[in-house]
């Protein structure tokens, strides 16, 4: 690549903004959004970058409405600047946690969600796989929502919105508890003892989403877990100050009342996690267990983790 790292950082940010936008975008609007992210560029400079991105085949002009990303551009946004992308997975989730305004006392506000795309003919089967996980209390929330009128859902497909467990981090932060999402892990349930983690991947050390990695590597046995009570599911681990224990427990109780799932054995403290002084791990199942179960049952399903935030009522009233 002939461009220097400094400009590569800028063009990656342009690619990201275009990727998040669902319609063509012009230089003026892009320059405003770039400035919000700390990259001060004149409209003319953005024009220059866009022409360069056109030349590389990453963007394409749509009449006079602006530019969109090409397939190559989407791929590039997922390949460029590996070091910078190690921090991107977590910052995307932190943003969603911050944006979730859910208030567990009133069960109102918005929560973070994951969006899964399935073929229409698979919808029934996938829904039954989701229901199994919810029935066994191995998900993060007790329902999901099926959407079809969404620009992100291609023809012949259906979208399923599930609650994303970073909602918990957002709720904790809103009541003033500093929560730091640390790991995604595989947690094993057996007859012989308390659940224990078998693998962990730190959110601050990967460019690939750890939950997706566990699922696609075939390292879950959620199907067995929901059928027999023994198996391996996925959970997220965040850390809070030990002094926040009682506040965290109260918050979790309130969230349970709204339909969030914290089964016995899951929650605050314990487990075979490395003990760190003054830090308390808080463990919750991820909504991705629903997706994992469907994939184990052989369905093709594509999921964007942390796809956005949605009013709580829209997902809670969907059944």
């Amino acid at each position: 690549m002939s461009v220097s790292i400094r400009s590569e950082r800028k063009y990656l940010e342009i690619l990201r903004i275009l990727k998040e936008s669902h319609e063509p975008m012009g230089a003026k609007r892009l320059s405003g959004l770039m400035a919000e992210r700390g990259f001060i560029l004149s409209d003319r400079a953005v024009q220059y970058y866009l022409r360069y991105l056109d030349e590389l085949g990453f963007t394409v002009k749509v009449g006079n409405r602006g530019r969109i990303l090409t397939e190559l551009g989407i791929a590039e946004s997922e390949r460029a600047l590996v070091d910078e992308r190690i921090g991107f997975i977590i910052s995307k989730l932190e943003r969603l946690a911050f944006l979730s305004s859910f208030d567990p006392e009133t069960c109102t506000g918005s929560i973070a969600y994951n969006l899964s795309i399935v073929r229409e003919e698979d919808l029934e089967g996938v829904a039954s796989a989701f229901d199994e996980v919810i029935g066994a209390e191995c998900g993060f929330f007790n329902t999901y929502r099926i959407v079809d009128a969404d620009s992100r859902v291609p023809a012949g497909h259906a979208g399923i919105i599930t609650a994303c467990s970073v909602t918990l981090d957002g709720v904790l932060q809103k009541v003033g508890i500093p929560a730091r999402l640390e790991y995604a892990g595989r947690i094993a349930f057996s007859e012989s003892g308390p659940p224990e983690f078998v693998d962990l991947i730190g959110y601050r050390g990967t460019t690939v989403d750890p939950l997706q990695l566990f699922i696609s590597a075939g390292l879950t046995s959620i199907n067995r877990l929901v059928a027999t009570g023994c198996g391996i599911a996925l959970a997220n681990v965040r850390e809070v100050p030990v002094a926040a224990r009682s506040q965290v427990e109260e918050t979790i109780e309130l969230m349970k009342g709204c339909g969030f799932v914290f089964p016995a054995g899951i929650g605050v403290g314990g487990f075979n996690l490395v003990e760190r002084p003054y830090r308390l791990p808080v463990v919750a199942f991820t909504g991705m267990n629903l997706v994992g179960n469907s994939i184990e049952r052989g369905f093709a399903i594509r999921t964007e983790i942390g796809a956005g935030s949605i009013p709580f009522s829209k997902i809670a009233d969907s059944t």
């Binding site: 600047l81 590996v82 070091d83 190690i86 991947i201 730190g202 050390g205 490395v274």
Partner: protein, 248 residues
């Protein structure tokens, strides 16, 4: 309470304490990767392994294939399967650590190859952040295109990276020369001090060394449509137990 989980950087250091391989004598133990394939796929798998090796995408030409029911290193090969034992690229880190090189294993990921030249890492899992071997799980991500690299010179392969203190440059060079002489291959790129290597930054006064992953051949076999499971960082095996790829 069960033992806390062990992260990969610590596992690598523990292995380093046990590796005894001496490249000049060609004796001692190395770290192996263990892969299972179906018996009927053995012929095509071997030819892909040979292609991978001749393209320079494998760690070593040492390999052993065991049949179902055979037992080695307290592992019994399941029915219907053949087991392929190959040298794990982490053996390099172990050898450097044993020779006293100040070294930090950084991580494993996917490297983009453009006209036979490594260009940049496009995915990376840091060893200190994972209890799984990165290359073992990345095999399943369908992000590699090793067959394209073999046939056309461009694509994506598995690779890993460590950093060594710049003071040890001469010693590192010497160990690499010894290894090359004894049939090890697969050094992908060698950085200069204080400069990121293939897009991955290094600590002050350190230089990066990137190496092809030991599981590339298995990922290529998988790309070709065959069933394969791989366990990287499997354990230790005496080099004498491994034969030569050319003999299979």
């Amino acid at each position: 309470m069960n033992d806390p989980l062990k992260f990969t950087n610590h596992r690598i250091e523990e292995y380093a304490l046990q590796v005894t391989y001496d490249p000049e004598e060609d004796t001692g133990t190395v770290i192996y990767n263990l892969s299972l394939i179906r018996n009927e796929d053995l012929e095509p798998a071997l030819s892909i392994m040979k292609e991978t090796h001749s393209t320079g995408l494998s760690v070593s030409n040492r390999v052993r294939i065991t049949d179902a029911g055979e037992r080695i290193c307290s592992y019994t090969v399941p029915q219907g399967c053949s087991a392929i034992w190959t040298v794990c690229s982490i053996t390099l880190d172990a050898l450097l650590l044993r020779r006293g090189v100040p070294l930090n294993p950084i991580g494993g990921g996917v490297v983009e190859i453009d006209h036979r030249t490594p260009r940049r890492f496009t995915s990376m899992l840091l060893y200190r952040a994972t209890t799984l071997d990165p290359l073992e799980v990345l095999v399943s991500q369908e992000t590699t295109s090793i067959l394209d690299v073999i046939h056309h010179g461009s694509g994506s392969i598995l690779a890993n990276m460590r950093e060594c203190h710049m003071e040890a440059e001469a010693l590192v060079g010497m160990v690499l020369d010894e290894l090359t002489a004894s049939g090890f291959s697969g050094i992908l790129d060698f950085g200069i001090p204080n400069v990121p290597l293939l897009g991955v930054p290094v600590s002050p006064q350190y230089m990066g060394v990137a190496m092809v992953g030991g599981t590339n051949a298995m990922a290529a076999i998988k790309e070709a449509g065959y069933w394969v499971v791989t366990r990287a960082l499997g354990g230790l095996i005496d080099i004498g137990e491994l034969g030569y790829l050319e003999d299979y």
